[in-house]
């Protein structure tokens, strides 16, 4: 009985102290709130009472010292200064430490908290020479203690007596997590049995079987859904400790930080929540320690002294996105590269060729740290790689975006739950395989007569042209070394996404989509990275679940340093220009010259009356589909004349990095598909090279360079700044 009460005390106190800290921090900004003061007082008061009942005297003594100070605070005889709040937070830490000990051993340990108690007493005595406050509250307790012993065994009565408005304290119960997990397992089994029965019933005409089967189907789905919900917890539970963390860190580092949180109610499966807790903490620490500048540095560049750290969570397509962003100095590409070269993570000659994405990817390499000074908080070179590993372990992905001098944004994408996932079932060489829908982008069927022509080869590597871009193909049959020959009849391409890279997986047949229960593989098969686990299908047989990331790694698609294979597939204009047949838009660029733009990136062709062209900053812009689209005059950029002021602008709407740009050209010549052999020509910015297209020399535009050169890119970035 005693042990049970102690366990309850430890568990509930942990929550109560979370609340206590939150309220203390709120008090710092909102000093006159008597509700807050009362709640803070009550939490400690209650803790003291209960620990006294349970003969936890050290805890009681510490709580008593704190309570006396809080009592003064409540009566308005002390102000909640920064120092006082700090002391009270340490007081909370002290309580937690002893509570943790009690939780582990069932008894109080050796920690005395003498210094802390002394400090609290000093504050109390410093503020008043009159003892009545302390004596008064002690008297109150001596009255109340016996009552506690008789009537109220747990500390709940105190907190439940005055519930926060809107809490569900009365209608909620505590459930052991292990119990929930067992229920979850059983529901998994039920789903499988349901699948089997549904399949069986599908083969009969017996109405007496079909009807209850449909009901069973429905009820099982509902049950599954609801059980999943019981395992869901708002991400706010993890975020709750961040205000304290941010406060402590900012004081320690002498930085001013405002933390804002959005989407705290977003729910996640608790196992996932558990897995991302530490990575998130690390990212928030990083944002403050590395991301934000000191107030002096911020003043020097004209930023507000107070740095912003934003946490944001939202649902997106069956997944949860979590962002940690700051408006600090951003990531210095050159600095990252220097470090990477120094640590042999990347070859010096390779460094300049890497995209920003790849450069920031280096941050996640083991043994990397950009901090010039190693602090005890972060920058020890362990961290980002662990962050990435932990997130990937639960099927998530992480990426970094940075705008040098302005901001850094880290984006985590994770699945809602791990236990039951929707999957596509495919067949290859007679076996069935399940592929999680989360990594599936689209499906392409290639007919029997087209297999020979539509699947092309770069050396030995098969590729497919997906809307003009080359998609590397992976034959599942070959990867798994399955028996039987390829190319017997039609095939299907599953366009899959792994860490932002796409590839096509070739399979024989697509069967169905199904909710599958993921089961781990035994120790004997753990080493096979191409499988994420196994599942049991409706007919009772086992099917393997493919690990999309594992396959991508196996074929070298995610290997950051094996440039050879991937470079052949890089989906930007440069490589597709260099490789064979192309769909091209041919435009006139003045002076009788013509130029080519890869059709794949062309969104639309438009014509705007000159009256629609407006100015924003230094750029010409037009209003286009509810957004402001900057114009880049290709004719002028290539040294041609400015357009006549009253003529209509012919514009190629070009999608670059997810934004539209309008390329102003003289006229549209043609759209054609042809073999391209690119010659590098004199180094003219904005031109990749030239080729002979339909007997005319045609320049190939380097749109990214043209956009950068025109300066509209920075205008764009400013606009995207709002997260």
């Amino acid at each position: 009985m005693q042990q049970q009460l102690i366990r309850d005390l430890v568990m509930e106190s942990a929550e109560a102290l979370d609340q206590f800290e939150r309220d203390l921090l709120a008090l710092e900004t909102n000093q006159q709130d008597s509700d807050l003061l009362n709640r803070i007082f009550r939490i400690i008061h209650s803790l003291k009472g209960t620990s006294g009942c349970l003969a936890l005297h050290k805890l009681e003594k510490l709580a008593h010292a704190g309570e006396n100070v809080l009592s003064l605070l409540r009566e308005g005889r002390l102000d909640p200064s920064k120092e006082l709040v700090s002391t009270l937070l340490r007081f909370s830490d002290g309580l937690r430490k002893t509570l943790a000990e009690v939780g582990e051993t069932g008894a109080e340990g050796t920690i005395e908290h003498a210094a802390l108690i002394g400090e609290l007493v000093a504050i109390e005595q410093g503020s008043t020479r009159m003892p009545p406050a302390a004596a008064g509250s002690a008297g109150l307790f001596s009255d109340e203690d016996p009552l506690f012993q008789q009537a109220t065994p747990g500390p709940t009565s105190e907190t439940a007596a005055a519930p926060e408005p809107g809490t569900v304290a009365d209608s909620a119960i505590r459930v052991d997590v292990g119990q929930l997990d067992r229920i979850m397992d059983l529901v998994g089994e039920l789903v499988l049995a349901r699948n089997q029965i549904v399949r069986f019933a599908g083969n009969t005409q017996d109405a007496e079987l079909i009807k209850p089967t449909q009901r069973l189907n429905l009820i099982t789905s509902k049950l599954q859904e609801n059980i999943m919900k019981t395992r869901m917890q708002p991400i706010g539970n993890v975020w709750a400790k961040f205000p304290r963390l941010v406060r402590d860190l900012s004081l320690e580092l002498g930085k001013q930080v405002a933390l804002s949180m959005e989407g705290a109610e977003t729910e996640l499966d608790r196992t996932i929540l558990e897995a991302i807790k530490d990575p998130l903490t690390h990212l928030v620490r990083n944002a403050i320690d590395h991301g934000l500048e000191t107030p002096e540095a911020r003043r020097a560049v004209g930023k507000p002294l107070e740095g912003q750290v934003k946490l944001r969570a939202l649902h997106e397509g069956g997944q949860v996105i979590i962002q940690v962003s700051d408006d600090g100095a951003g990531i210095d590409r050159e600095k990252v590269l220097r470090k990477a070269v120094q640590r042999n993570l990347v070859a010096a000659d390779e460094a300049s060729r890497l995209s920003d994405r790849e450069v920031f990817g280096l941050l996640f390499q083991p043994g990397f740290s950009t901090a010039d000074q190693v602090t005890n908080l972060s920058g020890r070179g362990v961290g980002m790689d662990v962050v990435k590993r932990n997130i990937e372990r639960v099927g998530g992905a992480v990426d970094v975006q940075s705008d040098p001098g302005r901001s850094t944004r880290i984006r985590i994408k994770i699945p809602l739950t791990l236990a039951i996932v929707p999957a596509l079932i495919v067949r290859c060489a007679g076996n069935r395989y399940a592929i999680p829908q989360a990594s599936l982008v689209e499906l392409v069927r290639i007919g029997e007569d087209q297999v020979g022509t539509l699947i092309e080869y770069v050396e030995q590597c098969p590729v497919y042209r997906l809307r003009g871009n080359l998609l590397p193909l992976v034959h599942l049959r070959a990867q798994l070394r399955l028996e039987g020959s390829d190319s017997s009849g039609a095939v299907f391409l599953l366009v899959l996404q792994a860490e932002g890279r796409q590839f096509g997986l070739v399979v024989d047949e697509i069967l169905d989509t199904e909710e599958i229960v993921v089961k781990p593989l035994g120790r004997e098969l753990k080493g096979l990275a191409v499988y994420a686990g196994a599942t049991i299908m409706g007919d009772g047989r086992v099917a393997l679940i493919l690990d999309v990331m594992g396959i991508a790694r196996r074929v070298g698609l995610l290997n950051e340093h094996s440039a050879s294979l991937r470079d052949a597939f890089l989906q930007d204009a440069k490589s597709s220009v260099a490789s064979g047949r192309q769909s091209l838009l041919i435009v006139g660029v003045g002076g009788g010259k013509q130029a080519a733009i890869p059709l794949a990136s062309v969104a639309r062709l438009e014509e705007f009356a000159c009256s629609h062209v407006e100015r924003a900053g230094t750029s010409d812009v037009v209003q286009y589909r509810g957004e402001i689209m900057p114009l880049v005059d290709v004719v002028q950029a290539l040294g041609g004349a400015a357009p006549e002021s009253d003529s209509a602008r012919r514009v190629v709407v070009y999608a670059l990095d997810g934004r539209n740009f309008g390329l102003v050209v003289e006229h549209i010549v043609d759209i054609l598909e042809c073999e391209v052999k690119l010659h590098r020509t004199a180094n003219q910015p904005g031109i990749l090279g030239s080729a002979v297209v339909q007997k005319r020399v045609t320049d190939f535009l380097d749109v990214a360079a043209l956009v950068a050169q025109s300066g509209v890119a920075s205008f764009e970035k400013a606009e995207v700044e709002q997260l």
Partner: protein, 147 residues
């Protein structure tokens, strides 16, 4: 009074093997299994044991014996190991035999290679020898033949 133990026995060709009965969960007739491409050859595949997924270890391959030729289907002997369940494929199942500890002897020193690792020792039964299979070691696939 000497210690007595019970062994679940099974055959590979004419050889009689045994695993302590307490370690055996159940014996199943041949089940359909799902093969696992890229897995070590001794792992024949996965089977569904009432909702649990269990790997199947081909003992003939593990001992370097040729596959069954006449097309008879092997039997699954499902054993508990430190890392969960494993199904051992045997030619056919034998009886549960009770043995006397005193009839135990270590494998002869002349036993070589793979078998020496996999056989813990021998019980001398009136009808012949009972070879004690070390299941944990059989699962140690580092040492298994990859052919």
């Amino acid at each position: 009074m000497s210690q007595r133990k019970q062994f679940c026995t099974f055959y590979l060709d004419a050889r009689l093997f045994g695993v302590e009965v307490l370690k055996i969960q159940e014996v199943l007739r041949y089940q359909e299994i799902t093969e696992v491409p890229l897995a070590p050859a001794v792992i024949r595949g996965l089977l569904n044991l009432r909702g649990s997924i269990v790997a199947t270890l081909d003992l003939r391959r593990r001992f370097g014996m040729p596959p069954l030729e006449d097309g008879t289907l092997p039997t699954n002997v499902v054993a508990q190991t430190s890392s969960g369940l494993i199904s051992l494929l045997a030619d056919r199942i034998g009886d549960v035999v009770e043995v006397d500890e005193e009839s135990f002897e270590a494998s002869p020193e002349t036993l070589e290679g793979e078998s020496r690792e996999l056989i813990e020792g021998v019980y001398k039964l009136p009808s012949g020898l009972l070879l004690v299979l070390n299941v944990e070691r059989a699962l140690d696939l580092e040492a298994a033949p990859h052919a």
